[in-house]
């Protein structure tokens, strides 16, 4: 397959000009409201009302007309690849299709224009939907209590880490260490540190899983807990998870579960059965809310009874048939964002789960895992290398190492990724996890058809053959995207972070 992305080229090395080049600055634009004359007459000139020292004299925004703005941003959209464009196997990101009904329901005016301080009795519908979502997440995870407040997965991690911190303050124990496997998502380390913990790294076993001996060696009376994701970032199920939980619990420590990889086991395994005490779920990954070019997401946090009293306020509760915002959470960690959460994102998960039902939930994971295993098998047959767990089924994702290609032909994972672009496939996550050299972390989701999976695999094979024939060609990729290979280092060296800075220094 071949893919040619739109490329708008102004000339002189510029693709689509910026809005600052398109419109004259400081003047013009599109007023979307008018001020009524009666009001102006009644109130008088604002110049006389506002103190002179706080009045703004110039606004250097560009002035454009509506058609110009429409075309500019349409051009930019055309120069961007989305999930509806094609397979997007970005490992650990679960780039699945968002049912359009979820988009439609989230854009209903009554939801969009709902004020967060509208009286509770007037918003029973939305509270009911959120409460039902919590209940469904509880059924899927086995964790009975949920907060929908965190704005993203990483904020969920922060909430979880803060709850563990507060729990030990409450118990009067001084525990300030969190254990994290070396292969974990970077946000785990950052969240634990933000919550005031010292991070202790657990090296992997030869199998790529948590090394139980290393865990036993690291755990001590200061260990507050451990953060894991299961399956881990290699796409391997941590089969020792019950023993891991046992080691932690018998030390009085807690198990935190990073839900980024839940798409592998949803409907098959309860987190509570694995001994998980607190978990966050990525609504924008597992539960089909779109990623929005980087956000917004939502990170629901679920807990056992033991942490119920520590959840952020308010939690959404129900008394008889009345839904309400419950501020009575005695040991709450407080708030991590205003109001109640990213409702516009959460409502999409409600739609998604209603569409799926229980069987559908399981089927999502089954097919995601089936697709991943199928793709891995085909790729291994072609000669691609899997370093960890090759003799067992992978879960929803798997990690290739392209270090052989690097040695033999000087082709890096980065080069290979760029060659995929020309064939219509969004590249996988590369150089992560760090324990795999030249890592190629691939996550097909349940949204890809067999035809597309075969297409992806064949594109990989095609690139492999081209490398054997003419590696130079791959170093030139991508050729069909809006722009050729980008120089990342140059941008960081220059730090042209706004148009104004660029105008003064870059041109």
């Amino acid at each position: 397959m071949r893919y040619i992305q739109a490329r708008w080229e102004e000339g002189d090395g510029i693709l689509e000009p910026t809005v600052f080049e398109l419109g004259k600055r400081g003047d013009g634009g599109t007023p979307i409201v008018s001020v009524e004359e009666e009001l102006m007459e009644e109130i008088g000139s604002l110049d006389e009302i506002l103190p002179e020292n706080i009045v703004r004299r110039s606004i250097n925004l560009p002035g454009l007309s509506e058609p110009e703005v429409a075309r500019h941003f349409s051009h930019l959209a055309q120069m961007n690849f989305g999930v509806d464009s094609g397979p997007y196997w970005l490992g650990s990101c679960t780039m699945k299709y968002t049912p359009k009904l979820a988009m439609r329901i989230a854009s209903v005016s009554k939801i969009r224009r709902l004020h967060p301080y509208a009286p509770e009795e007037q918003v029973q519908g939305i509270l009911k939907a959120l409460y039902e979502l919590k209940e469904m997440l509880s059924k899927i995870t086995g964790l009975p209590y949920f907060s929908l407040q965190p704005a993203a997965g990483a904020q969920g991690e922060l909430v979880g880490a803060l709850m563990i911190r507060k729990k030990f303050m409450d118990l009067g124990e001084k525990r300030d260490e969190i254990l994290i496997p070396e292969s974990a998502h970077g946000s785990n380390f950052a969240s634990a540190a933000m919550a005031g913990f010292k991070v202790v790294r657990i090296p992997p076993s030869d199998e790529g899983t948590v090394d139980l001996n290393a865990l036993r060696a690291a755990i001590n009376e200061r260990t507050a807990g451990m953060m894991i994701t299961n399956p881990n970032t290699l796409g391997i199920f941590e089969s020792d998870v019950l023993e891991i939980a046992n080691v932690l619990h018998s030390n009085g420590s807690y198990l935190y579960y990073d839900g980024a990889n839940l798409n592998a086991i949803m409907g098959w395994i309860l987190l509570s059965d694995m001994g998980v005490d607190i978990a966050h779920l990525n609504i924008h990954k597992t539960f089909s809310a779109p990623h929005g070019g980087g956000g917004p997401g939502a990170g629901a946090v679920g807990t056992t009874e033991e942490f119920r009293d520590f959840l952020p306020i308010p939690v959404i509760s129900k008394r008889d048939d009345y839904y309400f915002l419950d501020y009575n959470v005695p040991k709450t960690i407080g708030k991590v964002r205003m109001f109640y959460g990213n409702i516009g994102v959460l409502i999409k998960a409600w739609v998604y789960l209603k569409l799926l039902g229980g069987e559908g939930v399981r089927s999502v994971s089954t097919i995601a895992v089936l697709n991943a295993n199928y793709a891995r098998k085909k790729l291994v047959e072609m000669g691609f290398e899997v370093l960890y767990g090759k003799d067992r089924p992978c879960k929803h994702e798997f990690v290739l190492s392209l270090s052989g290609l690097k040695k033999k032909y000087g082709i890096r994972a980065l080069d290979f990724a760029k060659a995929l672009i020309d064939r219509g496939f969004h590249p996988p996550t590369i150089y992560f996890p760090l324990i795999v050299p030249e890592a190629f972390m691939m996550e097909p989701t349940e949204s890809d058809s067999l035809r597309e999976i075969d297409g992806y695999v064949n594109a990989m094979g095609d690139i492999l053959r081209r490398i054997e024939e003419n590696p130079e060609e791959i170093l030139q990729a991508p050729k069909n995207s809006a722009i050729g290979r980008i120089d990342d280092v140059f941008g960081t060296k220059k730090l042209w972070l706004t148009w104004k800075i660029y105008e003064n220094e870059g041109r």
Binding site: P31, S58, K128, M136, L355, G360, N373, E446
Partner: protein
């Protein structure tokens, strides 16, 4: 929704893997963990049925009101049709963080334009590609100021939105930061006397909102800035970006950090989220390296022939720096930033000025009219107010709001109902007016309030 869920496809793929059934995919899992049956989240429903249930059980139990005068930090703003249209393009809303810049120039350039437009509006140098919301931006600002100054005290105006205060406390609690609240004067502005007695060489950041929780515009930011800088403290100002069509931006009045709520720029209320956390600083190299969140910069192609965009200074971020990162933020509010970029591009200088004017006029008019009523008066009647108006009543606000609702009006936010520490007797309700309100709407509100008296 799941293309390969057809039996014959599953069988074919399992066959390729040499497996008898799908359970074989989970043979590596301790079998005691595997559930006998799927979780009980109900039966699968058709699209039409989900639509129906949503309509019947959810939508019908949400109030239908067109005149929203409720204040408290989120307000009913006019969203241009173009913003909805463009931001619903799948290329924008379904894509991920632009890790592969060659196929993601669209999102990268929009976010760069967002940073640039916002920097102009705020009078600041550097804006990140978004944080979650106004409150978490404050939390990050607090932590940022502590990293930069290596001090551990934050001084803030007590007129801060209580929810933001609460979030700040959560964010800095693990650092053991001391928070000092400064009282306000009779005009609702920060008391400079009290501030000057507190700010010394131990203060990392002074934080003031303009407009503050009560809608009061601070008229002495420049003096506050002087006070901070004399002692080496950073000044952070929280703004409503829509006020900046008329009000001098904090960047021009000495602010080192500016944060704010971007929901107002082409976003909906959505029962409080998602929002857009604005985070801006002045351009000091050491500060930029301590910034939280993503940054997009102009770069070029490897062959040097084209101008392009990519994420820069990623070494500050969690996926590289792990526990040494400046923040744990990963997923942010990109789509909201995209909406804000489209909004600001469409409005331009004239549009922004006009919208500021309209909200100022509406606020002034509403305030004046409320004070003419016999049983209501506004708190801080002589202050410069923007959008939010705290109104004191001598009757029960619950009853008044019920009456207003019967007239099709969503009334003020009863401050004491949520924040009893601010108003234990529930005497004050926070109203807000925006550009969506016409004079007729305001007169109708006043007329309805008069009926209560």
């Amino acid at each position: 929704m799941i293309p390969n869920s057809r039996k014959e496809i599953i069988a074919r793929m399992l066959g390729e893997l040499g497996l008898k059934d799908v359970k074989g995919l989970y043979s590596d899992v301790p079998q005691t963990l595997l559930l006998d049956r799927p979780p009980d989240v109900g039966k699968s429903m058709s699209q039409a049925d989900v639509s129906n249930v949503f309509e019947r059980e959810i939508l019908r139990r949400i109030l239908d009101v067109n005149l929203i005068f409720t204040g408290g930090g989120i307000a009913d703003h006019y969203v241009p049709a173009l913003v909805d249209e463009l931001s619903s393009r799948q290329e924008f809303y379904t894509s991920y963080t632009p890790y592969q810049p060659e196929v993601s120039q669209g999102v990268l350039q929009v976010l760069f334009e967002y940073q640039s437009l916002m920097a102009e509006l705020l009078g600041m140098d550097v804006v990140n590609a978004s944080l979650y919301d106004y409150a978490s931006a404050l939390g990050e600002a607090g932590r940022f100021s502590i990293r930069v100054t290596k001090r551990n005290k934050i001084v803030l105006a007590s007129t801060i939105h209580p929810e933001r205060y609460s979030v700040l406390k959560t964010y800095v609690e693990p650092l053991g930061t001391e928070l000092v609240l400064i009282p306000y004067d009779e005009s609702g502005e920060l008391s400079l006397e009290d501030l000057s007695s507190v700010v010394d060489e131990s203060v990392a950041m002074v934080y003031v909102e303009s407009p503050n929780f009560f809608g009061v515009i601070e008229t002495r930011i420049e003096e506050i800035s002087q006070l901070c800088h004399d002692k080496g403290a950073l000044l952070a100002v929280g703004v409503d970006p829509l006020s900046l069509g008329l009000i001098k931006p904090p960047g021009e009045m000495g602010a080192d950090i500016v944060i704010g709520e971007g929901q107002h720029l082409g976003g909906y209320m959505n029962y409080g989220g998602p929002s857009l956390g604005i985070f801006a600083i002045k351009r000091r190299f050491r500060h930029i390296r301590q910034m939280p969140g993503r940054l997009i910069g102009i770069t070029r192609t490897v062959d040097g022939k084209f101008r392009g965009y990519s994420m820069v200074l990623q070494t500050r971020e969690q996926h590289i720096r792990q526990e040494e990162a400046t923040s744990n933020i990963t997923t942010n509010s990109s789509l909201m930033a995209i909406r804000a970029a489209i909004y600001l591009s469409l409005l331009g200088p004239d549009g922004i000025r006009k919208i500021s004017e309209k909200i100022f006029y509406n606020t002034l008019y509403l305030k004046r009219k409320i004070n003419e009523l016999s049983c209501f008066k506004t708190l801080f009647p002589r202050s410069i107010s923007f959008k939010e108006i705290p109104v004191i009543a001598d009757k029960s606000w619950e009853d008044i709001n019920k009456f207003l609702l019967s007239k099709g009006i969503l009334g003020g936010f009863i401050i004491g109902s949520r924040f009893p520490e601010l108003d234990s007797e529930k005497k004050i309700a926070l109203f807000s007016t925006t550009e969506v309100h016409t004079k007729e709407d305001l007169d109708y509100l006043i007329q309805s309030m008069r009926e209560v008296c």
